[in-house]
């Protein structure tokens, strides 16, 4: 296969400069680069580590390296407090939001990038302005709307709310990605007799795979973590999400730190995994034009 088949996102980072001046261990590099990095890594990782220690350490122990590890705290939160159900609720909401946001963002992003239409500028302005609207400040009217629509205590309702708040940014990101796919590819396909729709699915969509990953994971992480809406709109325990369950654990299980930490691990693992996989797409997505409007 030839060079051209290499997927474009590989070229995200500028290629490492040729080792033209391979100095024999520039000592200032350690103070400039490695030392601050290590310090920052400590700041980042110690809190995570602290949580892991408490989650896996038998109650009453104080060792900083938990051994032997125990799963009793996970049993407590998963089966006893009901984190298994909260996990399932969070997963349904996050996956649902992921699908809806990605599809709608793809449609709208394509429209913004490929068409010129009346009202486009106003629409884009409106999208940008949504970045300034705090969900917390709309809680009151949203509660009234949700109550009227019978969407309180329903997972569907939370998917709709999360979608509404995440879609604008997702759409802006997606239009940046679409703009980066040369329109000529599509045009060539259409000259060859494809319909526009067919050209999109056959030519443009495969190029947008990294965009789908980035936008989808944004949506997943955002919905997985959303707290206020879930707190406000899902008051019945069987509809709790992980953040809501965790917030109750903060208040009510004040003495059982092992359970609190285990609940934290349950809530953290999916998002941190997703994030570790997609963070390079994330950087790419932001360069594609989110910050610059």
């Amino acid at each position: 296969m030839t060079q051209t088949l290499i997927r474009p996102e590989v070229a995200l980072d500028p290629p490492p400069p040729p080792p033209k001046r391979k100095k024999h261990r520039d000592p200032s590099r350690y103070f400039r680069l490695h030392l601050p990095l290590v310090l920052y890594l400590l700041f980042t990782l110690i809190p995570f580590y602290w949580m892991l220690v408490f989650a896996f350490r038998p109650a009453g122990e104080t060792a900083l390296v938990p051994w032997p590890i125990t799963l009793e705290h996970f049993d407590t939160v998963w089966n006893g407090i009901g984190f298994g159900l909260f996990f399932q609720n969070s997963l349904i909401i996050a996956l649902g939001t992921l699908v809806v946001v990605t599809v709608f963002a793809l449609m709208g992003g394509y429209a913004l990038a490929r068409f010129k239409f009346r009202g486009q500028k106003v629409f884009l302005l409106a999208l940008l302005c949504t970045q300034f609207i705090p969900g917390a400040m709309l809680l009151i009217p949203l509660f009234v709307i949700f109550k009227g629509a019978g969407l309180l205590n329903s997972l569907t309702g939370l998917i709709i709310a999360d979608t509404a708040f995440q879609l604008p940014l997702a759409l802006i990101l997606m239009s940046g990605f679409v703009r980066n796919v040369p329109v000529e590819l599509e045009e060539a396909a259409m000259v060859d007799g494809c319909s526009r729709l067919r050209a999109f699915f056959a030519v443009t969509l495969p190029q947008l795979r990294p965009a789908l990953v980035a936008v989808g994971s944004f949506a997943f992480i955002g919905a997985w973590n959303n707290f206020l809406f879930a707190l406000m709109f899902a008051s019945k325990q069987d509809k709790f999400t992980l953040p809501v369950g965790l917030s109750y654990a903060l208040g009510e299980f004040n003495t059982d730190f092992g359970a609190l930490a285990a609940g934290g691990v349950v809530a953290a693992v999916p998002v941190v995994l997703v994030f570790a996989v997609v963070q390079r797409f994330l950087v790419q997505g932001l360069s594609a034009g989110a910050v610059k409007g």
Partner: protein, 291 residues
């Protein structure tokens, strides 16, 4: 390219509908609620009262002013520190070194963690009986920890550090994205001209990053102003309302006391402040000049 005139509208329709129902209409109804007495628990008293909520807010509610002052302090300190640390972090992980991809994933990872989860982690870390200060004291470093979150002197720095943990990575990601668009030739040219590392930073990197810095700072200021979940769960606004921000005050009026009318008036005050930031952002980003 042949296009049907209705096609773009059909494509943006779902987004438009959701925005109208869940963003535009709620804002309008906040305006309407703010002119009413509207308490869920006392429906018999509800009705139109004009500007009474605003009078009460401006002249009779010290907590409104206190939350406003704390919001300003919070945004200023938090965004300032995030900018500086985020820039340094972005510069570091933009360098080439062994294990860079791993380092990036690790130092950025707190960004993925929600406010509530961040709270859970840091409560363990700050707690006087389980926390890091207790551990350090056992090793003979510092005093045995008191509750940093319950102490009025330490609650603010403790809250700031917690949000930094989560916020610096995001700033760094934004700035890293922009750092990667700087052509390498510029640095080479500067080196040829004899510019040292610091000089290259001042003359090449900073000017290139200027727009990204200004815009992300503004955006971040708005987000930090709106931040509720972390403070809500970490301190609940306490001790003695010392860490209550304006949106947190609104949320508590709505969630705890169901006072929708007065909460809406507070919301309107928040909107006025955000409007200022939005206009500034749109002007500085030169919105529309490229379209």
């Amino acid at each position: 390219m042949r296009t049907r005139a209705w096609a773009p509208y059909a494509l943006i329709a779902p987004t438009l509908v959701l925005m109208l129902v869940f963003l535009v209409y709620p804002i309008a109804s906040v305006g309407w609620f703010s002119l009413r007495q509207h308490t869920v628990t006392q429906p018999w008293k509800n009705g139109f009262i004009g500007l009474e909520n605003f009078r009460r807010m401006l002249f009779e509610d010290p907590l409104f002013w206190q939350s406003l002052v704390f919001s300003a302090k919070w945004v200023f300190v938090e965004v300032g520190l995030q900018l500086v640390l985020g820039l340094v972090l972005a510069l570091i992980v933009n360098e080439t070194f062994v294990g860079r991809a791993m380092a990036r994933s690790l130092v950025f990872s707190p960004w993925a963690v929600s406010g509530v989860l961040t709270t859970g982690i840091w409560i363990l870390l700050y707690n006087p009986s389980t926390g890091i200060f207790q551990q350090l004291a056992q090793w003979g470093i510092g005093d045995p920890g008191t509750s940093v979150l319950g102490n009025p002197d330490t609650v603010f720095p403790a809250t700031v550090v917690t949000e930094l943990w989560r916020g610096v990575p995001f700033f760094a990601i934004l700035l890293l994205a922009d750092l990667q668009t700087i052509p390498n030739d510029l640095y080479e040219a500067a080196s040829v001209d004899g510019a040292g590392r610091w000089r290259r930073f001042i003359s090449v990197t900073l000017p290139h990053l200027r727009d990204a810095i200004v815009l992300s700072t503004l955006l971040r200021a708005v987000w930090e102003f709106n931040n509720v979940d972390l403070i809500y769960t970490l301190t609940g606004g306490g001790p003695a309302n010392q860490t209550t921000t304006l949106p947190l005050y609104v949320a508590r009026k709505a969630v705890d006391s169901h006072d929708f009318g007065y909460g809406s008036a507070l919301t309107m005050a928040g909107f006025v402040i955000l409007l200022f930031f939005s206009i500034l952002y749109l002007r500085l980003s030169k919105f529309g000049s490229r379209a």
